[in-house]
């Protein structure tokens, strides 16, 4: 363990060595500025899998690995919807998850935002039209931002959160009823 820790001290951090380099660094700065300006020092995200194939979950988990390190921007995942500002939804929203998704949303304090991550959460993706799914998150709760992809890559998830931050401040000031709905292009 000593060697590993020593190595970690000496070597260049992986976080800077990310291949999306310039892009990612720029993204991080913008994200940090926006977060601080709008909502203080941090923003809490609650993730709900509403029937995904689990690939989206793996990529969301990856945003916390040393290459992306989402936490450094003040964005972190929380266990309870009561602590959350953002609901990050994946999956086509199965009918079997409809109630759980709605209850999670209802348990979050205002102001709150919903991000539909992945093609399934946007419109049901390749499962659209099945008797068992509701063809996306919008059928149950209002979506503020969509992040396309099957699954979206970790960098795309981070980019999506920046886009949300830009709009989030305005609704935070005016109250959720203003109904800000930016949508990223699919």
């Amino acid at each position: 363990m000593k060697n590993l820790l020593l190595k970690a001290l000496i070597r260049k951090p992986l976080t800077e060595a990310a291949p999306a380099g310039g892009d990612l660094a720029e993204l991080g700065r913008t994200l940090e500025q926006e977060t601080r300006r709008r909502l203080g020092r941090s923003l809490a995200i609650r993730q709900v899998d509403a029937g995904s194939c689990n690939a989206c979950e793996l990529e969301i988990q990856a945003t916390s690995n040393p290459y992306y390190d989402l936490d450094r921007f003040g964005l972190h995942f929380v266990a309870s919807p009561r602590h959350a500002d953002i609901l990050l939804v994946t999956g086509p929203v199965t009918r079997n998850m409809e109630v759980a998704l709605r209850r999670t949303y209802d348990a979050m304090p205002n102001p709150k935002w919903v991000v539909a991550a992945g093609d399934c959460a946007i419109d049901g993706g390749c499962f659209a039209g099945s008797y068992a799914v509701l063809d996306g998150c919008n059928a149950v709760i209002p979506v503020d931002l969509t992040i396309p992809g099957c699954p979206p890559e970790p960098a795309a998830i981070m980019k999506g959160l920046v886009a949300l931050m830009r709009g989030a401040g305005e609704t935070a000031l005016r109250g959720k009823s203003a109904g800000f709905r930016p949508r990223s292009g699919k």
Partner: protein, 504 residues
């Protein structure tokens, strides 16, 4: 007993290259087969229905010969296999929900996939509109002094899939865990019906995202067998390269995540870094981090060039170098071992009874790996070790995965060295008659089985995909008994069963 085994032996063909024949059983023979499975004379690989019929895939545990058996002309129900052989239970409950056929004599006839939220019932049979509200789900009663229940899910604390766990505890100790799954049921079997071969491949590779390649390959095997197509050697090699990359990525991720669930975050950061390197290499070489839609029936959709090959060789070298210090770290951290050693023990007899695949079975004495025991190209030409232990605790499952990571690195090196030249895709066309095929592939989690029936136009009339987790989830209920609730995340992560793969 002899009868079923003889039928398996008599019908034995290379099921990966030719259509899979089905043995039609009488009701008595069907019951005999269930009894044989219960006694361990045959292993149950799968149980599924088509309209008016039920089918079982069985394997001779000694010769590893595989046969598919059918009981036809059953409209209302079929003799329960689970009555004698409990591993079939959830498969039967799913058949009842989807096809409306009852498992006669089954002890547990509660619904499984149908939570009462669909607008229709029995979607794969003559679907009928649902009438009235769904009754509450009856969890198994628990009687005793000082017991309390802890319901968890379907929405979990972490970034994981949804499922409900009902713990009954006495103090901190779990006396019973009951799982309730089905929350991610997307109706994949229904979407498969009438789908084109290409659409089927799309759905198969989105059934359990972490096993994209394994599902894509098993589906392709089934379709190719049904239509008598042999993919070119280079395509088969590329499939194996992708399959080993997938195994590597998942093992690395999970070794880190298991240790993280024992509050040893350093390992997650280190392993997460290695896993990310694998994902990035997969993206650079195969165009997608999960290598989605690369495997297609007939071969693979894209080739790799010498630069891609060089990049993968570099990856193998780097991971092999960086992984060993982490193994040492795991082995030399007593506070971590104190959590993993002796936690969540899966007894050898239960692993054998359920035919548990993957690292779960191999950590509990079940010496089975599809790549070696039901070999398919290119693994029939490769040398690799299948690790085996019998202690069956969290620690054993970690060590199996450590050893499999090493084996995958070796295999990748060998596959890259011996990659044949040539085409990577041959055309796949319908045969103007009904055809059925079977595919079995060793995913990182265990054996993925796909059975497909194609009509004369090459459309899918039925596709059944059996995730390894069907025979692993029930064992988690047994494993957690007498452990403390706080160790559940640790035990659960050491199993890492798929929700989406079994909910379909």
């Amino acid at each position: 007993m002899v009868e079923i085994l003889e039928m398996i032996a008599a019908g034995q063909t290379d099921f990966r290259t030719t259509p899979m024949p089905r043995h039609k059983l009488t009701k008595a023979q069907w019951e005999q087969a269930a009894d044989d499975a219960a006694r361990g004379h045959v292993s149950l690989l799968g149980l599924w229905a088509t309209r008016g019929a039920v089918h079982m895939a069985l394997m001779d545990p000694n010769s590893h010969a595989v046969g598919v058996f059918s009981l036809e002309n059953r409209r209302k129900g079929f003799p329960s296999v689970a009555r004698l052989h409990p591993p079939a239970q959830r498969l039967e409950r799913s058949i009842t929900d989807l096809f409306g056929m009852r498992a006669e004599g089954a002890e547990d006839s509660r619904p499984w996939l149908d939570h009462g939220a669909w607008k229709i019932t029995t979607p794969l049979a003559k679907a009928a509109p649902r009438e009235g509200d769904a009754p509450d789900y009856d969890f198994l009663p628990v009687i005793g002094d000082g017991l309390h229940q802890v319901p968890v899910g379907p929405v979990h604390a972490g970034i994981i899939e949804p499922g409900h766990f009902r713990f009954t505890a006495q103090g901190e100790t779990v006396v019973r865990l009951e799982e309730r799954l089905g929350y991610t049921h997307k109706g994949i079997d229904h979407l498969m019906r009438g789908a084109s071969i290409a659409r089927g491949a799309e759905l198969a590779q989105r059934t359990s995202g972490d096993s994209t390649v394994a599902y894509g390959w098993a589906y392709a095997q089934a379709v190719e067998a049904a239509l008598g197509v042999t993919p070119p050697p280079r395509a088969v090699w590329l499939r194996a390269i992708m399959a080993e990359l997938e195994r590597l990525a998942n093992h690395l991720n999970d070794i880190g995540a298991i240790c993280n669930d024992a509050a040893f975050a350093l390992m997650l950061a280190q392993c997460g870094t290695l896993r990310e390197q694998v994902m990035r290499a997969a993206h650079a070489v195969f165009g997608h981090r999960f290598m989605r839609d690369v495997i297609v029936p007939g071969g693979v959709a894209r080739d790799i060039d010498s630069a891609g090959r060089g990049m993968l060789e570099g990856l193998v070298h780097d991971i092999a170098r960086d992984f060993e210090p982490l193994v040492e770290l795991y082995d030399n951290t007593p506070s971590l071992l104190a959590r993993t050693v002796g936690a969540g023990i899966l007894p050898v007899d239960l692993a054998a009874q359920f035919g548990a695949g993957g690292y779960i079975g191999r950590a509990s004495g079940r010496d089975f790996d599809t790549r070696r025991d039901l070999p398919y190209a290119p693994y029939d030409k490769l040398v690799f070790k299948v690790p085996l232990r019998s202690d069956g605790d969290v620690n054993a499952r970690i060590w199996i995965r450590i050893e499999e990571t090493r084996q995958s690195l070796n295999l990748l090196g060998e596959l890259l060295r011996s990659l044949p030249e040539g085409d990577v895709l041959v055309p796949v066309s319908p045969m103007k008659e009904q055809r059925e095929g079977l595919g079995i592939v060793e995913g990182f989690r265990g054996d993925v089985l796909v059975w497909v029936a194609l009509d004369a136009r090459g459309r899918i009339s039925r596709c059944h995909m059996r995730d390894p987790s069907w025979f692993q989830w029930p064992l988690l209920e047994a494993v957690i008994e007498d452990n403390i609730i706080a160790d559940f995340p640790l035990c659960n992560k050491s199993f890492n069963c798929s929700y989406s793969g079994v909910d379909l």
